[in-house]
Amino acid sequence: MRDVYVLGIGQTIFGKHDSLTVNDLGAAAALAAVKDAGISPKELKVAYCGTMFSPPTPVQSILFHLGADRIPMYTVENACASGSSAVHLLFQEVALGVRDVGIALGVESLSAFNRKFGKGLLAIEGDLQGKLALTMPSFFAKLCNRLMEKRGATIEDICYPSVKNHKAGMTNPYSQYKTEVTVESIMASPMIADPITVLQCCPQSDGAAAVIICSEEYYKQHNKKAHRPPVRIAGSVISVSGAEDVSYDPLAMQVVIKGAKDACEMAGVDPQKDIDVVELHDAFSGEELAAYEMLGLCEPGEGVAFARSRAVELGGRCPVNPSGGLLSMGHPLGASGVRVVNDIARQLWGEAGVNQVEGARVGLAQMLGGVLTGIESPVVAGIQILMI
């Protein structure tokens, strides 16, 4: 396997872009990424795009805007890990020596989705549990209830990631929300599924992100930003769950635990010591609280104590979602898996502005997608580890 480097990143502001198509959004992110990389779009040798609800062949249509054509292009769908999967497949091609440089895109327009299918909670078509009204909030409400029962989490603990991430998002120029929230305002917002209120859920968003990934040789020849420390993708894993029985514990999802462990082994890092910053899938505030221990940032069962120690805030041992996370950045489904990789690269380059984690050298980007029940519909975790 060859070393794989991040040459450039780009994204749109996340939020409501009602007048823009996925092609417009994707093109804006792709153009920003090639400009950041300082290469011509004609240099790209392969392209991957993660998306859930776009029209067919979005990647061809997006890159047509840039004159990037006549190269292999693929659109991949893996729920919220669609963007992670695009990054992973491009990583593999470069690592295995198939191509020297390519682009991984992620794009979504929930505005377009809502125009087509109407607003409301997304239930999965044809899924037994979905037909019986299992939704993402109701699944994560069970997770929150279990965090309170088994881990001693309080409502304050459950709300903590939302408070922290909304605060961080206020100073991120790309974020959808610019509003601080408190435990009181969170719990005063409309209840979706006890104890999950609206302000514990990520918003519906439109947006796109793109990253240019290349080989070491290509990086040496083309990198024009000498001030940036070279950032390498040292580990990349796509982890999928399977059939589960009554032994399944949603506080110890093997798909996340094993995915993170494999990615850390691949990169040769110890998550408790070496990882300086994390961007993860906080679609719900309680989901982030449950993730700390599954990613190995602390001992199993210690996630709530880890949060209470403020280790996950700026200035703490391992800040989590200093971008503002999905909760404040927004969550254009297919784009988020690319966006988290970009945000980790930005941190390692020292370009994260007021949300900079000082001295960050190793970062982990995680996404989790699927119905999450583990019974009928397996889930997928995408994990990338970047380092300098």
Binding site: L128, K131, P137, I192, D245, V246, I375
Partner: protein, 137 residues
Amino acid sequence: MSKQVVFYPGALEERDGKLVQMGHKCKDCGKTSYPAVELCPFCSSENVERVPLSTTGTVFSYSITRVPVGPFKPPIIGGYIDLPEGTRVFGQIHAKAEEMKTGMKVKVRTGVIWTEKDGTEVIGYHYVPCETGSGGA
């Protein structure tokens, strides 16, 4: 009589005049899966037989949804029910919010779970607490 359909193909079957949830028991690994799929989802064995699921179980975890979802009006109590054969089943629980508890015993009820606009009755299942017996509609 209005037209009736099962909410999920193969999830329920009529046996001795009663609708029962039908899963697959694997004769190789011993696990029972629900809903039934082609092979055992645990070990890929073809050696599976259709079996009725246990009609009682315990609540592994639950949540109460306060907004409408599809044809269902809030509050919607949904939970994972652990069956004695080791299978975890998702279902709605018709109970009062204040009587809900993790670990409580529930039993299954089958029947109409919603009616389509054209009058088609959709047949499914839900759980009710064992203690109070009848539960909601």
